[in-house]
């Protein structure tokens, strides 16, 4: 069970760079994204100047960008899908040629 949690399309999740990045210049801490995402990617830091962080980037569902659509000030960005999918395919090829 824990094994498939850590892979995406057959490659280890931690080799895939997919997560939201918060632009703190734009973020107004409305917490819509925090409330929306069911995967505990975001965490609140109530008593700190930066009140929201991407605490669990590996929980983020690869290619999902759903929370960014809840963000009024457009403060959430993601890596390029094309590059990430290329990388995943390369990782898979490398893995299969090692078998």
């Amino acid at each position: 069970m824990s094994e498939d949690k850590d892979t995406f399309m057959g490659v280890p999740r931690d080799t895939i760079d997919w997560k939201p990045t918060i632009d703190y210049e734009k973020c107004d801490y409305c917490m819509e994204c925090f409330d929306f995402c069911p995967h505990h990617v975001f965490e609140k830091r109530e008593n700190e100047p930066i009140k929201l962080v991407v605490a669990n980037p590996l929980n983020c569902v690869v290619f999902c960008r759903a929370c960014s659509k809840t963000c009024g000030p457009d403060a959430l960005t993601f890596p390029s899908k094309a590059e990430v999918s290329k990388k995943i395919k390369e990782t898979r090829e490398a893995m299969s040629s090692h078998e």
Partner: protein, 291 residues
Amino acid sequence: MSDKYAVLPCNGLDKCAGQMTKEIAMLLCEGTQNEMICPVFYRVADARYDKIAKENPLLVVDGCGTRCASKLAGEKGLKIFRKMTVTEEAQKRGVTLPTDTLRLSEKEIALCTAMADEFIKEETAVPEQMVQAVEFPAPAEYLIHKKDKFIFRVPTEGFYFSENDCWLQVVGNRARIGITDFMQQSLSDIMFFTPPPVGVELEQFDEAGNVESGKAVFELICPVSGKVVAVNTELLTAPERINENPYEQGWVAELELTNFDEEKDFLLNTADYMKILKKKVDEFHVNKQKG
């Protein structure tokens, strides 16, 4: 083209984009039979607008990604005929909106006028390619997962799935794509559908349109590469087909496959998708209890 629309702006007062929705709504209503819905009053008094909103095609004008007007439409169980978001349109047209004032200058008014025109433009003709060349058989059988009162179905034959909850049904070198029963239920009532453009060549994992419910916007992530040869235009007026029947009438687009043999490796069969689905259902359930 209908001769009367209901117009619902978000009327967000504390942002320029929100202020602009009011301007757009006024432009849409002036000198026409269209009727404006005040989002503030609608929240407290259903009766005032319910008839207008239910009997006429609804135009929704959101200021920003918070989608207050769309969410309100969702809460009231309305179907959206057409919608636009000011910040998105501004971005598309290379207009930077001011952050230091709420007053609209000529530049913003010009954008409002352009958006209002766009709203009432003739509907784009149904693409020729709608003529179906291929028959896609209905799923013969489903694998079922039950959790509390929820039942999630996954077709057993002829379908592939992605970890992003999209399905693919392949017949020859054509395929249909859509969203799975699990995702359809997570979104709940779908009220708006944006199809991918017909004719466009999509790479695997590119965005292939999106669907929107009161809860969220879901981007369809295309499970394979291919050229979009048709879209399900019925969903433009009846997006609820996706809720009713996600694997048949709720199909989203038809593709001509370009690299399927290679890409197949990245897709899941019914059994593997079922495993992922169960995990997602459990996680979702746990979160709900916590929340």
